[in-house]
């Protein structure tokens, strides 16, 4: 028997009992649909986390000046003055896991333009800062190392500052006043919206760290250092190497606490993403249990079908069907059943995930490979659960089968 004949015979046999066929397929439909839907929700959530991860920057390792313990009184973070430009340079030169370094100083300032004024946070940084944070300039340009060396009065401003000071005006090459000093706006930062921690990232001004140190804060130390690790996997070793380097540079004894704090938002988000992946896997495996139940449903109905059609099997064998022919017939029925169910399940799953994203506003995304795997898996379910009934049919003795009442 050729393949098309096999499939035609299988379809005809299934069409003879439409209600039963539909109910049997329902098990597979729900199973595949549930798996597709959970994977789509998980994938959607994972895409969102990935997007956030990207926005967090380029594998950021953040070193803040730490607390000091002076005679038992512990100050808050950024209280020490020990984090220095030399530290930043040492990290750049001695920690191979780190690709970029930007010294950081911050201050809260009042910015004035024309008759408008706005209180915002100024960040002193090196030109690498925008790359570390993956923060493009929307309009104008950034400052260079030359301007850092010269402690030039130039700045980049965030969208919130633009909206509050300039209204509809183009801020590039305009001059704002910060603490009575004129600063030329050389660029406008692209909008970033909220940080994962809820702060308005666009409410900021960025300028060379030398300018902030000398002209705004009047300090010679750093508040923080921001670095990029060379890869996501390098974040953790980079943290350890930086900690060791800084302890050594700050001459801390073994019993003394760190005078700096190292954090990595990427690391944190990675853990979140990992947890999300595990959750998706868990939900998908729970959903695939229903696929298993659907498979058992197929096996059950195929066994009933074999018993019901014992005489038919006898007749087929009498007129020349071999064991292989009979086995193939029932196996293909089980496979057609599960493949049709699987395909309908994919449609149901896609429809359900579209429904979830429009009703609950959850992001969903059906990965194409999930569809392929679901269809292959349901074919596998058909073969696995159809094998035993098909084998049972093929092993029937034609004489007994013909006599069966």
């Amino acid at each position: 028997m050729d393949l098309t004949a096999v499939i035609r015979v299988a379809l005809r046999a299934l069409a003879r009992n439409k209600m039963r066929t539909a109910l049997t397929m329902l098990g597979i439909i729900i199973g595949v649909g549930a798996v597709i839907c959970t994977v789509a929700i998980g994938q959607g959530a994972s895409n969102q986390v990935q997007e956030q991860l990207r926005n967090l920057g380029d594998n950021i390792v953040f070193i803040a000046a730490g607390s000091v313990n002076q005679h038992g009184v512990r100050m808050g973070s950024s209280a020490t003055k020990t984090l220095s430009l030399a530290d930043a340079k040492a990290i750049q030169q001695q920690v191979p896991m780190v690709s970029r370094v930007s010294p950081g100083v911050g201050a809260q300032v009042q910015v004035v333009y024309g008759n408008q004024n706005w209180n915002t946070r100024v960040r002193g940084a090196s030109p690498e800062y925008l790359e570390i944070r993956r923060w493009p300039v929307a309009n104008g340009g950034s400052f260079s190392q030359h301007e850092v060396d010269a402690a030039a009065n130039v700045c980049l401003i965030g969208q919130t500052v633009v909206a509050n000071l300039f209204g509809g005006e183009d801020p590039v090459n305009k001059t704002v006043r910060i603490q009575n000093l004129p600063f030329r706006v050389i660029g406008v930062l692209a909008s970033r919206g909220q940080s994962p921690f809820g702060q308005d990232e666009d409410d900021t001004i960025i300028m060379p760290y030398t300018t902030v140190q000398k002209k705004i804060s009047g300090i010679d130390w750093l508040n923080y250092i921001m670095c990029s690790a060379i890869s996501a996997d390098a974040i953790h070793p980079a943290q350890q190497q930086i900690a060791a380097l800084l302890r050594q540079r700050h001459r801390l004894r073994a019993d003394e606490d760190d005078d700096f704090i190292i954090r990595s938002p990427t690391d944190l988000a990675n853990v979140q993403a990992q947890a999300g992946r595990i959750m998706t896997l868990l939900l998908a495996s729970i959903a695939s249990v229903s696929l298993l139940v659907g498979g058992i449903g197929i096996m059950n109905i195929m066994l009933v079908s074999v018993t019901e059609r014992t005489r038919e099997i006898g007749v087929r064998m009498a007129v020349g069907a071999t064991e292989e022919d009979v086995q193939m017939q029932f196996l293909s029925e089980a496979m057609v059943l599960s493949l049709l169910g699987g395909s309908a399940g994919v449609l149901l799953g896609v429809a359900a995930s579209v429904g979830v994203s429009s009703m609950l506003q959850w992001p969903t995304s059906v990965p194409p490979q999930a569809i392929v795997i679901a269809v292959l898996f349901s074919a596998g379910v058909g073969i696995f659960f159809g094998y035993y009934p098909a084998r049972k049919a093929a092993r029937l003795d034609p004489i007994e089968a013909l006599r069966y009442e």
Partner: protein
């Protein structure tokens, strides 16, 4: 051919003619091992059947005739002895080879018709051809021809439930004929039919045996039905008790003329 190697069999009378037998069985034994007891269903059957013979197999239940038919139909292996079908020793063939022999050389007609339900007459008749690898178009064409031979032209698309018992049995006969077998085995084909319809079925068998030199083995309980054959073999206790030609053979066409019509559906006899 294999005749020269055969040992002479003296147990039963076989027709001594020059033609090559379509069926030759030699000392056929079949024993069923039921654990503690052994049932000897056949205790040494030797028989020659020539092409075109219409043989009625008779005997009480338990006489071994069903076992004999299963062996002749290549559905089972003999415990001992040999069976030559059309000159080929089939007693030692594998299951797969037997399936092929059944497909190509043997047609089966059963008491209970054994048609596939909810399947049209044409699809029932073409069934053996599916397992011979014949194309769909050719299958349908040959199935329609076979239905014409048994007088069911015009009912090709009827399902078994839409046909009378006699018509269902004719569909079954058409299915048995579709692959041009050398042998048709009919196991009480008239057991579920009224007397007129039974004679109509006998008419088809007589016609096929005469016109196509088709060999027919018919199992029956009814001596009236056995009269339509040209040879009767009687089984008892796993042995052939009697084997003789039918003296006053009934002609189904003549008998039908004397019987009143019962069902208008059966009028289409050709």
């Amino acid at each position: 051919m294999t005749e020269d190697v055969l040992e002479p069999q003296a147990e039963v009378a076989v027709p001594k003619t020059g033609a090559t037998p379509i069926i030759r069985v030699e000392n056929l034994h079949k024993t069923y091992d039921l654990g503690e007891v052994q049932v000897h269903a056949l205790r040494g059957i030797s028989l020659d059947i020539l092409p075109g013979e219409f043989v009625a197999i008779m005997g009480a239940s338990g006489s071994g005739k069903s076992t004999f038919m299963n062996l002749i139909g290549c559905l089972d292996h003999p415990t001992r002895g040999r069976y030559f079908l059309d000159g080929q020793d089939v007693s030692t063939l594998s299951k797969r080879e037997l399936a092929r022999i059944r497909n190509r050389k043997i047609g089966f007609v059963f008491q209970g018709f054994n048609l596939l339900p909810r399947t049209s007459a044409v699809e029932n008749v073409e069934l053996p051809l599916i397992y011979s690898g014949v194309s769909h178009e050719e299958r349908v064409e040959r199935a329609r021809d076979a239905l014409g031979i048994v007088g069911l032209a015009g009912r090709e698309d009827h399902h078994p439930s839409q046909l009378s018992g006699g018509q269902q049995q004719r569909v079954a006969i058409a299915r048995a004929l579709i692959n041009n077998p050398s042998l048709v085995l009919a196991d009480e084909p008239t057991g579920n039919l009224d007397s007129r319809t039974s004679v109509e079925i006998m008419e088809i068998f007589q016609r096929l045996s005469k016109e196509r030199t088709l060999t027919i083995l018919l199992v029956t309980h009814e001596p009236d039905i056995a009269r339509y054959a040209n040879r009767v073999v009687l089984f008892r206790d796993g042995k052939v008790r009697r084997d003789e030609p039918v003296e006053e053979r009934a002609d189904a066409v003549e008998v039908l003329k004397t019987l009143p019509l019962i069902d208008a559906d059966e009028e289409e006899e050709s």
